[in-house]
């Protein structure tokens, strides 16, 4: 028996009812690429169980199997007995971190990611790379060919970077156009702030145009998902508390995010802090206020866009929207409002794209295989535009589109809505 020390770990109810039916294998993107039991949810549950019960040690190989899960939540959704294998792998990562913490994770998620000032400073070289014209030059000279494929793919993940982080340019309060009907908080996620600033600007414009006074608190921290993925649940809780306190001060009706991952994590604060008496009610109230931007826009009387955008467009369901928040009709509804868009459904639209946060970096081979499945489906639609409300998915899709030299635009659905409004104004 390899008894684990006393730490926070999954309980028996998290795995005991697994009857090993194998239904989860059908929907697991990593299983479908490797066709090896160890790369599927049922195998991961078996390994977690055996290590928790002392039958196996928490070996590097076992831990790696937990890290290899893309946490796309498809297994959670299909499991007929209500086991959540994806959740279990995340919990097992935390078990490992409690027993044998890895120093760089503390530095990265405790020191850097949780502090927006430091994040912005650390990513300055990337912005300089774009701003100085070096990036353009490298593309013109096709120098990326000289890079190893993984580095080339990572380079391609980056959208056109904003000159400055959005947090530094977006006013803390933006008044509604016309009469203010809602006072909303905007949760500016890290990726939106540093990479997709233009898209979040569009989000805020669309909100303001539809009667929202938008408050974007500057002291917002990372939602916590990256730390969660790397097994630092303790840091997620700390970040959660800070964010809850920040928005309590902002005094808003709802808190809106245009990032699928942030949204699902913020809605999960409730579950995350339920054991802490002081925080549980505050987390409950906070999570109840969270809305994905597409969710919010379809709840309010929305100004119909009258401008036209001509393109064949499809939509990829981010895991953290479709399964994380059961949001899939709303973004489609927004796209269907726009004149001129020829919407085609993407086959397997809710199959993971392979991004899964940083799997393109940590599990390159599997990630690109999963992406290839997505791209094959994308190509079959003949779409010129693919919309998806998640920066992680967008980066992955950007990589894929560049790898295959496809002329397909990757964009947030609300950005398209904003463009339809602009087209109308220009008329």
């Amino acid at each position: 028996m390899n008894v684990l020390p006393i730490i926070e770990k999954p309980g028996e109810t998290d795995y005991i009812n697994c009857i090993r039916c194998g239904l989860c294998l059908a929907v697991c993107p990593t299983y479908r690429e490797h066709l090896n039991e160890i790369a599927g949810p049922r195998g991961r549950v078996a390994l977690a169980r055996k290590s928790l019960e002392g039958e196996l040690t928490l070996s590097p190989n076992l831990v790696e199997q937990m890290n290899a899960c893309f946490a796309c939540l498809a297994c959670n959704e299909i499991c007929p007995v209500g086991i959540r294998p994806a959740e279990l792998t995340l919990s097992m990562r935390y078990v490992q971190e409690q027993i044998k913490p890895i120093g760089w994770k503390q530095t990265l998620f405790g020191g850097l990611v949780s502090n927006p000032d430091r994040m912005e400073a650390a990513t300055l070289p990337l912005r300089l790379y774009e701003r100085s014209g070096i990036r353009k030059l490298i593309y013109q000279l096709r120098l990326t060919r000289l890079l190893p494929s993984q580095v080339r793919d990572m380079e391609a993940m980056l959208p056109h970077l904003p000159q400055r982080p959005l947090r530094q340019v977006l006013p803390e309060k933006i008044d509604a156009f016309g009469q203010s009907r809602y006072r909303v908080g905007f949760f500016l996620g890290c990726a939106q702030n540093l990479l997709f600033a233009e898209e979040s600007k569009a989000t805020v414009r669309v909100l303001a145009r539809n009667g929202c006074t938008v408050i974007t608190p500057r002291e917002v921290q990372c939602c916590g998902m990256p730390a969660r993925g790397y097994g630092r649940l303790d840091l997620v809780r700390a970040q959660a508390k800070d964010n809850i306190a920040t928005f309590e001060k902002a005094d808003v009706d709802v808190v809106i995010t245009d990032c699928a991952t942030c949204g699902s994590t913020l809605k999960d604060y409730k579950a995350l802090l339920q054991e802490e008496a002081e925080w549980a009610p505050r987390a409950d109230a906070f999570s109840a206020r969270i809305r994905d931007v597409s969710e919010f826009l379809t709840e309010i009387p929305l100004e119909e866009p009258k401008g036209e955008l001509k393109a064949r467009v499809t939509y990829h369901d981010p895991c953290h929207l479709r399964r994380g928040q059961q949001i899939w009709q709303q973004p489609r509804a927004l796209l269907s409002m726009i004149d001129g868009l020829d919407f085609v459904e993407l086959p397997e639209a809710d199959w993971c794209c392979g991004s899964a946060g940083s799997q393109l970096i940590t599990h390159y081979e599997t990630s690109t295989k999963v992406m290839d499945r997505k791209l094959d489906n994308l190509v079959s639609t003949g779409a010129q535009v693919i919309a998806s409300g998640c920066p992680g998915c967008q980066m992955q899709l950007l990589t894929g589109v560049q790898r295959r030299h496809l002329d397909i635009r990757v964009v947030h659905p609300v950005t398209l809505l904003s463009e339809a409004y602009e087209a109308e104004d220009a008329k």
Partner: protein
């Protein structure tokens, strides 16, 4: 010996296909049952040639081989035996090799997921009917090895009815081709029939050639609710006696309905004692409608409280999704379940249902009853907690009584799951000594060293 065998296997099929870490062995120690035994080595071959090489090496080393696909089996037929040995997993042989639209056949490697195969042939208007509930997480090779059934088999027959040919790696590594594209073939023994349902004990099926039919264009699906389980089971025979052959005729008792409802929130009525899912299909819409209407009438005459026909594809899909999640969703009520698949002549369905309830009452452990009532194939599932030894003792006694009940009504042990490990003790009682002897002789003729899935089917 083992490390030498690993070296040899790696030389033949490459390092990536030979697994032996404690974690690899742990995840290949189980299937869709509660049984568990660790192998010594796991191999993931990618070609028939590699399978042949593996079998030759195993034969030299006298190492047992346990073939498997996705491990969804319900008779512990693909778990390793206590002596260990090699698990040979065919999931990486997953190519569809040929779609012949004129002869309407498909040739595929054993590891193709059955639902993928179905989707591929349906794209061109063809149809592969067998539909085990594990259709999305089982392989066509596993389906052939177990002669899998499913709801649609009432009208269309089982996997074996579609096998035209096989590529089989024999126990000495030689590669045998059986059958071919002709639909009629009496040249020699029916080797397709011999290997189909042999659970990997006679040879390893690496490639299948399947007969396809035209895809039915119209479907009508009804859900009939009964206040009496007895009435529901009588209705099954009433429908068939009326000359209607629905594609599927599925029975679920109250516990089954409650488990599904809890798992899937479909708004099913959980107060009723039983329900039937009835589906008619065909190429002529009017006939399909006429048949379902006739079924609805018979249900009403037999005392159904409510009968509803699915109004669109989404409603129909929801019903079938519910039915396919039936067995696994039972685990919400207990940590373990033992699902049997006895099959009786369909005239005996009302009687067997009564007897199952008596067994459950006597041992005070729930037996959930559902299954393909139309072909007499029922899945009584005993719910229990294996950690409580006295419950396990009861379960073993109950299983014996369930089998006894089936056999005494002219039924059989297994309609579609196979014997595996779990039903071995009852084989001779079901078949008689002579039949078992004949089958042992066949086994010995094809596998004299007893290395192909030993410890399965036959009692020790």
């Amino acid at each position: 010996m083992q490390s030498r065998l690993i070296d040899d296997l790696q030389t033949k099929i490459g390092k990536a296909g030979v697994l032996y870490t404690p974690e690899d062995l742990a995840v290949y120690s189980y299937d869709g049952t509660f049984s568990e035994t660790q192998p010594d080595i796991v191999v993931l071959p990618e070609t028939t040639e590699q399978v042949s090489q593996i079998v030759k090496l195993a034969a030299d080393a006298r190492a047992p081989i346990v073939p498997r696909g996705m491990g969804s089996g319900l008779a512990a037929g693909s778990i390793p035996i206590p002596a260990g040995g090699i698990v040979l997993c065919l999931t990486r042989m997953n190519h569809i090799l040929e779609l012949d639209t004129i002869n309407t056949t498909v040739r595929a490697e054993a590891g193709v997921i059955t639902a993928d195969l179905q989707a591929a042939v349906e794209k061109i208007g063809l149809f592969y009917p067998p539909d085990p509930s594990s259709i999305r997480h089982s392989t066509i090779g596993g389906n052939v090895a177990c002669n899998a059934g499913g709801p649609r088999c009432l009208k269309y027959g089982v996997t074996g009815d579609y096998v035209l040919g096989l590529i089989v790696v024999l126990a000495d590594g030689r590669i045998l081709k059986t059958g071919g594209k002709p639909i009629k073939d009496v040249t020699g023994y029916d080797l397709n029939g011999l290997f189909t349902g042999s659970e990997g004990t006679l040879g390893i099926v690496t490639e299948v050639l399947l007969r396809l039919i035209s895809k039915p264009r119209h479907f009508k699906t009804a859900l009939a609710e009964f206040n009496s389980l007895n009435n529901a089971s009588r209705t099954v025979n009433a429908i068939l006696a009326a000359g209607i052959v629905p594609a599927s005729l599925e029975l679920m008792d109250q516990t089954a309905i409650r488990c599904i409802e809890e798992a899937m929130h479909l708004g099913l009525n959980t107060e009723i004692e039983a329900s039937l899912i009835i589906e008619t299909d065909g190429t002529d819409e009017q006939t399909v409608i006429r048949e379902i209407d006739a079924c609805v009438n018979i249900c009403q005459e037999s005392g159904a409280g409510s009968v509803k026909i699915a109004q669109n594809e989404a409603e129909r899909n929801a019903l079938w999704k519910a039915r396919r999640s039936m067995a696994p969703s039972l685990a919400r009520n207990a940590p373990n379940k033992l699902g049997e698949d006895i099959t009786v002549p369909r005239s005996a369905i009302p009687e067997i249902v009564q007897r199952l309830r008596l067994i459950s009452d006597r041992y005070k452990l729930p037996i959930v009853i559902f299954g393909h009532a139309g072909d007499g194939n029922l899945h009584p599932n005993i719910l229990f907690d294996k950690r409580q030894p006295e419950q396990w003792v009861k379960v073993e006694q109950m299983v014996g009584e369930i089998f006894e009940a089936s056999l005494s009504l002219g039924g059989t042990l297994s309609g579609e799951h196979g014997v595996g490990v779990l039903k071995r003790p009852y084989l001779e009682r079901a078949l008689g000594q002579l039949s078992v002897e004949v089958q042992r002789n066949i086994k010995h003729a094809l596998d004299p060293l007893n290395i192909l899935n030993p410890g399965k089917i036959f009692p020790d």
